[in-house]
């Protein structure tokens, strides 16, 4: 055993040396305020049986201690604040502001019509245009969104699911106009439809067609956008809808396996697409359970990929994930308290080894964040990164009896759920049967009852309340925006080459019918300024629309 331990440790050391050439550590040496040196890694004095199987070394299977050998000693996580509201022009200004403030990646929030494939002038869009994110109808909006932001210099995460292919196509087209080849583009599309049926609600098509669009994207990106994350398999919204930490892990990994199964069924090779799968988790208030959750999820995914799917490339085993702090934990009462909640949650995500992080703004229980509150949220990450010292050694919670025990138990309990989902025939079938939805709702309802009975204390809500009269300053989306956006889209329709649009949509329809990869046709359609709604409608007509039970 110890021979193998030394063996693994040497591998880790070699791995560290290799990493340091590319990403040197931020300081040399790291030490505490008292001058005590902080080592890269702390290990058990006498590694017990099972240590290598359960924990291993950072950057090595099963990745419980993190996916990189030096973690945050070399590079902090990517600070990626989700932003978007109103028009493309306004959002572009917020993006450039955030980049100026030291943010290192972009994250686009789209409005609901865009997310559900309606143009701003569709009757279904009324009242929703530009409200929860930016309104994108045509390539022109997308060009404005990224004006003066070189796409070869930023990585962009797009929270877009049912129409992910359309927005990705627009991103490719904007890159092309800027002179950036698609092979160079980096970023992530959420593209996780299963959790839309389960928890988030922005589905369009029935599961089978949706899964086909997703595997089309996998396949297209494998050849054309090798650096782009083709999906962000998201537990975030499952948790927001009321799930426990265990349910979050279980349902997310079950969905992950469904995508892998679909891609394999579509004839893709596991080690070709698996390295581009990314994950997205929530961070709630129970600090140790959250930190353990990420560690458990990473270990479970590694095992699933290696043992169940027989992936050979270590890149396929690594779970890379983004974290966002928990929106549903924020309170409308005494909103300043939310800064503290966000700090605890962000710290848990960092202790769990996240690759990127969004910290919520304190006013999100009331409205979209103002610029001031968005800055405090970013500063929270920067304080944790630069002042707290928690980033100076890899996986500092490892070996805590409590944390390791929690990690094991989360894995065990999540596996029980996954087994139940397997009995349904996998996540797609379980979603269609409403299984996850019911489980989540039950948990949400119990939680609410506990809060109302006062069994769970929520500071400022059911305890430590005060009479508040001060209404904080809130960001309001200009009511004129919807009208302006509708007019702009109508103008586009008048000025574009109508024949080229009709032709591109006809070809897209044929591709849909003939089971060809849709992506190249969508790229062609967006380039001639076919709108999100027009493209989505062609597919609606061919695939039908999903309605929840």
């Amino acid at each position: 055993m110890s021979g193998s331990y030394e063996n693994q440790k040497n591998k880790w050391k070699q791995n560290v040396d290799k990493t340091l050439q590319k990403f040197p550590e931020r300081k040399e040496p790291f030490e505490t305020s008292s001058g005590i040196p902080v080592h890269r890694l702390y290990e058990p004095e006498k590694p017990e049986d099972g240590y290598l199987e359960k924990l291993g070394f950072p950057g090595a299977y099963p990745y419980t201690r993190g996916i990189q050998p030096t973690m945050y000693r070399s590079r902090h996580w990517t600070m990626r604040q989700y932003a978007g509201f109103g028009s493309a022009k306004e959002t572009n200004e917020r993006f450039r502001y955030l980049l100026d403030q030291g943010q290192t990646g972009l994250s686009v929030a789209f409005d609901l019509p865009t997310q559900i494939g309606y143009d701003s002038d569709d009757p279904m869009a009324e009242g929703e245009v530009g409200k929860v994110g930016v309104a994108i109808d045509s390539l022109e909006d997308m060009e404005q969104l990224f004006a003066e932001i070189p796409l070869n210099k930023v990585s962009t995460s797009m929270t877009i699911n049912a129409p992910a292919s359309i927005l990705l196509a627009m991103y490719i087209a904007v890159g092309e106009k800027q002179g950036v080849a698609k092979e160079k583009l980096t970023g992530t599309i959420q593209n996780d439809i299963l959790k839309e049926y389960i928890a988030r609600g922005t589905y369009i098509y029935p599961p089978e067609s949706s899964m086909r669009i997703i595997t089309d994207i996998f396949s297209y990106c494998q050849e054309n956008l090798p650096k782009f994350n083709t999906i962000s398999i998201s537990g975030y919204h499952i948790r927001e809808a009321g799930a426990t930490a265990v349910q979050e892990v279980a349902f997310t990994l079950a969905n992950g396996m469904a995508y892998v199964d679909a891609a394999l069924a579509a004839g893709l090779e596991i080690d070709q697409f698996a390295p581009r799968l990314a994950f997205f988790f929530n961070a709630h208030n129970q600090f140790f359970e959250e930190a353990a959750k990420y560690r458990a999820a990473r270990r479970m995914w590694a095992k699933i990929m290696k043992e169940k799917y027989n992936a050979q490339d270590p890149k396929s085993w690594k779970m890379r994930f983004h974290t966002q702090t928990g929106g549903s934990t924020l309170t409308a009462q005494q909103p300043d308290n939310n800064i503290v909640r966000v700090t605890v949650q962000a710290l848990a995500a960092i202790m769990g080894g996240t690759q990127s992080l969004h910290t919520n703004s304190k006013d999100e229980a009331l409205a979209l964040p103002t610029e001031d509150s968005a800055r405090i949220a970013l500063r929270t990450q920067q304080i944790l990164a630069h002042e707290s010292g928690v980033t100076e050694t890899v996986d500092p919670l490892a070996g805590s009896y409590f944390v390791e025990s929690l990690t094991d138990e989360i894995e065990e309990k999540a596996n029980e759920y996954i087994k139940r989902i397997d009995e349904f025939g996998g996540a797609v079938k379980a979603v269609e049967a409403g299984y996850m939805q019911r489980e989540i709702h039950q948990t949400a309802y119990e939680t609410q009852k506990d809060i109302e009975k006062g069994e769970d204390v929520i500071v400022g809500v059911n305890e430590f309340t005060i009479d508040e009269e001060v209404e904080p300053e809130l960001l309001r989306v200009d009511e004129k925006l919807e009208k302006n956006q509708v007019e702009a889209t109508e103008r586009i329709r008048e000025n574009r080459d109508a024949d080229a649009v009709a032709d591109s949509l006809k070809k897209l329809r044929e591709a849909a019918v003939n089971n060809e990869n849709l992506m190249p046709f969508i790229v062609e359609a967006v380039k001639v300024y076919a709108t999100v709604g027009e493209i989505a409608n062609v597919l609606r007509e061919e695939f039908g629309e999903y309605t929840a039970m």
């Binding site: 609901l112 019509p113 997310q115 559900i116 309606y118 009757p123 279904m124 869009a125 009324e126 009242g127 929703e128 409200k131 929860v132 839309e196 988030r200 609600g201 922005t202 927001e240 809808a241 009321g242 549903s328 309170t331 409308a332 009462q333 229980a365 009331l366 409205a367 979209l368 709702h441 949400a444 309802y445 609410q448 009852k449 109302e452 809500v461 209404e471 809130l474 989306v477 009511e479 309605t547 929840a548």
Partner: protein, 270 residues
């Protein structure tokens, strides 16, 4: 009594239905029949569903910021279908400053984040049953405890110049009362008839002064049972005889932050 029927609806494109689902179940547990529309309902669809399902109230949920457009449209759609008698309430992520606008547009009440399910349930019960039980008509009278009527009368009669309407004794309460009409209401002076009179006990404890405010109501029994359902405790759970052959019942003073309220149903004329 027939259970209250509630339509919980998600107008617009918002997919966040955790709150809608929780409130639906909470209201079911409170004994109501709840129909949930599911996501992406247009105002017209919601109005139609409410009419077809014959609901007593509609609860709208929106977290996407579209409430200012969509909530009033539901009210309008009801009106267009001659169903404006179905009250509309709402909840979700709604800034406090939007509430007056929504109420002006006909939304009866907005519940913001952090509202207990039980508060919403109570409100709906009041709202629905309150449709048949209108609010009190006016202040029937203000009761003032005095030790000796004859010492108090000159101020009211001569200094204020109010006409003395009547003086009578209410044996049940062991009081002698004098009424002065003033505008649409009255001042009632109460003099204890003996040591055991509640008015004497009041004067011993607090001295002379305002004793109670009486609210003029119709259908006093129904009002009492409504209060009891809301957990408001009554000093008299069945109406008793008051002055002028009225029927009265007192609320526990803790219901009104220490003010003793009397419900008073006047004798029907003719």
């Amino acid at each position: 009594m027939e259970p209250i029927r509630v339509l919980i609806a998600k107008p617009g494109l918002d997919g966040h239905d955790r709150g809608a689902l929780i409130i639906a179940q909470g209201l079911r547990d409170a004994g109501m029949e709840v129909i949930y529309t599911g996501l992406r309902q247009s105002p017209e669809q919601i109005a139609q569903a409410a009419i077809q399902e014959d609901v007593n109230v509609i609860g709208l949920s929106s977290l996407s910021g579209a409430h200012k457009t969509l909530f009033p449209k539901v009210v309008e759609a009801l009106r267009a279908n001659n169903a404006e008698d179905i009250p509309v309430i709402g909840g979700g992520v709604i800034p406090t400053e939007d509430i007056p606008y929504l109420e002006e547009k006909g939304v009866r009440k907005i519940f913001t984040s952090g509202t207990a399910m039980s508060d919403t349930a109570t409100f709906i019960k009041q709202l629905v049953q309150g449709e048949e039980t209108p609010p009190p008509n006016k202040i029937s009278h203000i009761g003032i405890a005095v030790q000796h009527l004859e010492q108090a009368l000159p101020f009211y009669q001569h200094s204020l110049g109010l006409p003395l309407e009547s003086v009578e004794t209410v044996e049940e309460e062991k009081v002698k009362v004098a009424f002065f009409p003033i505008g649409d209401t009255r001042i009632e002076l109460l003099e204890p008839m003996d040591e055991d009179s509640p008015i004497q006990k009041f004067i011993d404890k607090k001295g002379e002064g305002i004793h109670h405010i009486a609210l003029d109501v119709d259908n006093i029994e129904k009002r009492i049972s409504l209060f009891k359902e809301q957990g408001i405790s009554m000093l008299n759970e069945t109406p008793k005889q008051g002055a002028h052959d009225s029927r009265i019942a007192f609320l526990h003073p803790k219901a009104g932050q220490g003010v003793l309220y009397e419900l008073c149903e006047e004798k029907q004329e003719g």
